[in-house]
């Protein structure tokens, strides 16, 4: 394949998903200035690896590259994100709350609007799972493909993200029960 033909093919394949790529990078990096640099790097990688792309789901394929590039960037930037250990932390977290207080259950309109900042404050593993699920409408399998985590891990991250959000949005009174 000539360079131009390959590029044309590449452009048609990833073109429809550039918006999703940008959105994910913004949610992971939290800085718009970084997003464009990181995405340029990600797209260059994607183009380099494009020969190994065999027409499986283009969105998951591209977002996996974007996601990994973002994570390397965050590591380089030396962000003080505490590493999350799925095995260690999930076990401690996941006893499902069967009887939370009723008043904490339903979101009032003003609380719902705070969801933006609360999702931004989640640990990156939870944030990406939640954003891929709710904004991109991805299935567990697709999220697993993008993040390179097993489906069971995706499920527990998503569940944990929701529980934290419920607690944080459900009123300051219950803050203590999660952290």
């Amino acid at each position: 394949m000539t360079g131009a033909a390959k590029f044309g093919d590449f452009e048609r394949t990833i073109g429809p998903h550039m918006g999703a790529a940008y959105n994910l990078a913004r949610w992971l990096l939290r800085e718009s200035a970084d997003a464009e640099d990181v995405l340029q790097e990600a797209f260059m990688r994607a183009f380099r690896y494009f020969d190994t792309f065999h027409g499986e789901r283009a969105r998951s394929w591209l977002l996996a590259i974007v996601r990994n590039t973002c994570w390397s960037f965050i590591a380089r930037r030396g962000e003080p994100e505490e590493a999350f250990d799925d095995e260690r932390d999930s076990a401690a977290v996941l006893p499902l709350q069967l009887t939370p207080e009723p008043e904490a259950q339903l979101l009032r309109a003003d609380q719902a609007k705070r969801i933006q900042e609360e999702v931004a404050a989640l640990r990156p593993e939870f944030r990406e799972a939640f954003v891929l699920r709710e904004l991109e409408g991805m299935s567990y399998k697709e999220i697993a493909d993008v993040t390179g985590a097993p489906i069971g891990t995706v499920m527990s991250r998503l569940s944990r993200a929701r529980r934290e959000l419920q607690a944080r949005l459900g009123g300051a009174a219950r803050k203590a029960s999660v952290s």
Binding site: F7, T13, P16, E36, F47, A112, I115, E134, M138
Partner: protein
């Protein structure tokens, strides 16, 4: 009989559409009798709805796609692409100018997803366009152009009456391997013709255009390039 301990983890799976039909029934049976699980389900649903309604989808700044593709393009082929760059810039401008997820596209995607879930994709199931076309007469207020694209791999499977934008719309169903696609057709209300524009909503790709006084929305989950080719082919003929 399902217990709370069994039901609780399934509530989230159901919300995410990851639970099989049989378990959904068992779960609903339990939830109907259990106030705790009812509350949990309502709370999770409210959270999900709040996220979809209020969570920001960051849109790329103007010219972003064009800028990035230009930098990624290999040097050897830049000359060949110089001529195309103008067209690309124009296309990028159109993409930026159009809202990415307008309400009608959202509705079309929802209607598409519904048609897949309910196993009710077609009111009239036939690959014969001469049967499908008259079936719509009197149901929508315009003549529905019906064509088969079997030669391109998209076989007409039937038609269905749907509702978009609060009024009847014709939905033509095409089969592509295991995938179903919906082509929604509505009155364009006198709006001018518009070239196909594509987008992505919740994992489905959608293409829309206007032609001959009608508005078309094509929704499916086949690969981007195939969808685009089909949309352009359809738009060119109508």
């Amino acid at each position: 009989m399902m217990t709370c301990a069994e039901a609780s983890p399934l509530v989230e799976l159901e919300l995410d559409g990851e639970l099989d039909a049989r378990s959904v029934l068992e779960l609903r049976e339990h939830v109907a009798r259990c106030p705790t699980c009812t509350r949990q389900a309502a709370s999770l649903r409210a959270l999900s709805e709040a996220a979809r309604a209020h969570l920001r989808r960051f849109e790329p700044p103007p010219g972003f796609e064009d800028r990035l593709l230009r930098r990624v393009r290999p040097r050897t082929s830049r000359r060949a692409w110089a001529g195309a760059a103008l067209g690309l810039a124009a296309a990028a401008a159109v993409l930026v100018a159009l809202p990415r997820r307008d309400a009608l596209v959202e509705q079309a995607v929802a209607a598409h997803a519904r048609s897949l879930q309910l196993d009710h994709a077609m009111d009239v199931a036939t690959s014969d366009q001469h049967t499908v076309k008259p079936w719509f007469e009197g149901k929508v207020g315009f003549a529905v152009p019906v064509r088969d694209y079997a030669a391109e791999g998209f076989e007409l499977a039937g038609g269905r009456l749907d509702y978009l934008d609060g009024r009847p719309a014709a939905a033509l169903v095409y089969r592509h391997g295991k995938h179903l696609l919906n082509l929604f057709i509505l009155d364009a209300d006198g709006a001018r013709d518009a070239a196909p524009a594509g987008g992505n909503v919740r994992g489905f790709s959608s293409w829309r255009w206007r032609s001959g006084g009608l508005r078309f929305l094509l929704v499916g989950d086949v690969s981007g390039p195939e969808m685009e080719a089909l949309a352009r082919r359809m738009a060119a003929e109508r």
